[in-house]
């Protein structure tokens, strides 16, 4: 082979690589932030589970304007999503002050990689569970999202959030550590507007995810959130609302779903039959159902079955 033809060949293969890269380039999310209260912006995710079609655009993001730029609450499912959120903060809100992750589910912090030159904050327990599950989540999301998640390095929060009121860039935020959706769920009350950023403790018209849930703890957390009397709620998934309907609907979903699984266990059903029966009819039409219900049976059936099966022997 002559030097010339070898070079031609190499050039040819380089061109192929470039073409393939161009093809694999993630599409844009086209995120559309809108202002829900004075200085509080929201990006509303689709009411779906992760899929190759939505690229992980399934979660709500809040941006709070401050003197030092935006505080981003939850960073999305991929570095590309984090990058788009950041671009809005830079262009419209004077830069990036800090990022807060409400809990350890990956749609709430996998965008951190695009925001890591500024403080990344979370409850200590959340940062620990992010580190623990980072690899599992990355493998799962790479297989579901494909090219959307290219280049996403898992970047858990490094700064701690303490309970009580914090001042960030002149904005007073009441940090409320709760639990129930996961082992650590942060809710944030913006003192100036009275808006509650509820994380995944509150869902609206989108089925709550229960893989790490504790029903009783979650219900107690909802009571606490209700007691705040907030002026408006940014839920983790679903629309911004000025009433208590997100809390009410989430509470009803948890109570009805727990009762459905308990009844199935009391009637002697297998998890497979319980799945086949589907969610309670009043919640069958929620976004992300029946997928979330099916996950709930796999993860939560055993908890409720324990009470239905008497102990008859021990080693």
């Amino acid at each position: 082979m002559t030097a010339l033809s070898r070079r031609a060949l190499l050039a040819g293969s380089a061109a192929l690589v470039l073409q393939r890269r161009a093809f694999a380039q993630p599409r844009s999310y086209g995120l559309q932030p809108f202002e829900v209260a004075d200085g509080i912006w929201m990006i509303e995710g689709r009411r779906e589970v992760f899929s190759r079609e939505n690229g992980g655009d399934i979660v709500n993001i809040a941006l709070l304007a401050t003197d030092q730029g935006a505080i981003i609450v939850d960073s999305g499912s991929t570095v590309a999503m984090g990058t788009e959120i950041r671009a809005f903060a830079e262009q419209r809100l004077g830069g990036l002050a800090a990022t807060i992750n409400t809990h350890h589910h990956p749609d709430h912090w996998f965008g951190n990689a695009a925001l890591a030159d500024r403080p990344l904050l979370a409850l200590a327990e959340t940062a620990a569970t992010c580190r623990e599950y980072a690899q599992d989540y990355a493998e799962t999301l790479y297989s579901i999202l494909g090219s959307w998640i290219s280049g996403t390095r898992t970047t858990p929060a490094t700064g701690n959030i303490d309970p009580g009121t914090s001042q960030i860039g002149g904005r007073a935020l009441r940090m409320i550590p709760l639990a129930g959706h996961t082992s650590a769920d942060l809710a944030i009350l913006d003192e100036a507007t009275g808006v509650l950023i509820a994380g995944d403790l509150v869902f609206l018209d989108r089925a709550p995810s229960l893989p790490d849930a504790d029903f009783a703890t979650w219900l107690a957390s909802l009571d606490q959130l209700e007691g705040l009397g907030s002026a408006g709620v940014v839920p983790g998934h679903g629309s911004y609302h000025r009433t208590g309907e997100g809390i009410t609907q989430t509470r009803a979903y948890l109570q009805v779903t727990r009762e459905r699984l308990r009844m199935a266990a009391e009637l002697g059903l297998t998890p497979v039959e319980t799945m086949a029966a589907g969610p309670a009819p009043e919640f069958a039409g929620l976004g992300a159902n029946p997928e979330e219900y099916l996950r709930s049976v796999v993860r939560r059936f055993g908890d409720l079955e324990t009470g239905a099966l008497p102990v008859i022997g021990s080693a």
């Binding site: 002697g268 996950r295 796999v298 055993g302």
Partner: protein
């Protein structure tokens, strides 16, 4: 119909999970492909007569939410001939043979959960008295790692606490027996954790005579839960559950319907 899906109020119609046959039952490839010819030879003794038959229904979710606990239900009650045994194999698993179920005097229905290492089909092969095999299957997509990850119990220093706890209940009106046993079900593939898993389980009647038996292997889930279907004359109990593991531990309990 042996399934109880409809007794849950507001049950979806049609149900969300239904039995499939042909390529749809094994993930899209031909039913007779992949590991199946080799598993058929190794675990069924290379039978001359076998077929994919809708009378052997295997139900499972299409995707594993948790590779360590993938729930299945085998219902072969529609098979008209007596069934000697049902061999449960997993197409792509480091331990392809999961369970051999000898229904005996129980009906040929079995609920259980297994660990999945990668996505694939689970097949239930029912040997009838006529020396033929009727085979059903269900495909589950899974990311895997279920067989090679340590049992969740090992994350706790007190994992042996509660080991061997046996729970069970009979429902005479539906003939169901459901039981759960606290056991780590270690496959031996996780670093530094030797194999420790159940090898056999039997249901006995009050006189000690066998009702049904199971031969159990590594893929059975941690803290396994099992569902059986008993005929009316046995469904009130008492039923004695007896199990043994590969380290020689035995587990026993007696369950009776509450009046």
């Amino acid at each position: 119909m042996a399934l109880l899906t409809d007794i849950l109020p507001g049950a979806a119609s049609p149900p969300l999970l239904t039995g499939k046959t042909g390529p749809a039952a094994v993930g899209g490839d031909a039913f007779d492909s992949g590991m199946w010819p080799s598993h058929r030879q190794e675990f069924l003794g290379d039978p001359a007569v076998w077929r994919n038959d809708p009378a052997v229904t295997v139900l499972a979710p299409g995707a594993a939410e948790d590779s360590s606990h993938v729930p299945f239900l085998i219902d072969a009650t529609a098979v008209t001939r007596p069934i000697r045994r049902i061999v449960v194999t997993i197409d792509y698993s480091p331990f392809p043979k999961a369970i051999v179920f000898h229904p005996g005097r129980a009906l040929p229905l079995l609920g259980f959960g297994v660990k999945y290492e990668v996505g694939g089909a689970l097949r239930a092969s029912a040997e009838t008295g006529a020396a033929e095999w009727l085979v059903g299957a269900a495909y589950v997509s899974a990311l895997g790692g279920g067989c090679s990850a340590p049992a969740a119990a090992h994350q706790r220093p007190d994992w042996q606490e509660g080991f061997g706890e046996l729970r069970a209940r009979l429902w005479p009106e539906t003939g169901r027996l459901r039981m759960r046993l606290r056991h780590p079900q270690d496959t031996g593939l996780a670093d530094g954790i030797p194999a420790h898993h159940l090898t056999e389980l039997a249901l006995l009647d009050a006189s000690g005579a066998e009702i049904a038996t199971l031969e159990l292997h590594e893929p059975l889930e941690e803290n396994p839960a099992l569902t059986f279907l008993l005929p009316p004359d046995l469904a009130r109990g008492p039923v004695i559950i007896h199990a043994r593991d590969n380290l020689g531990y035995t587990f026993e309990g007696r369950v009776e319907a509450t009046p």
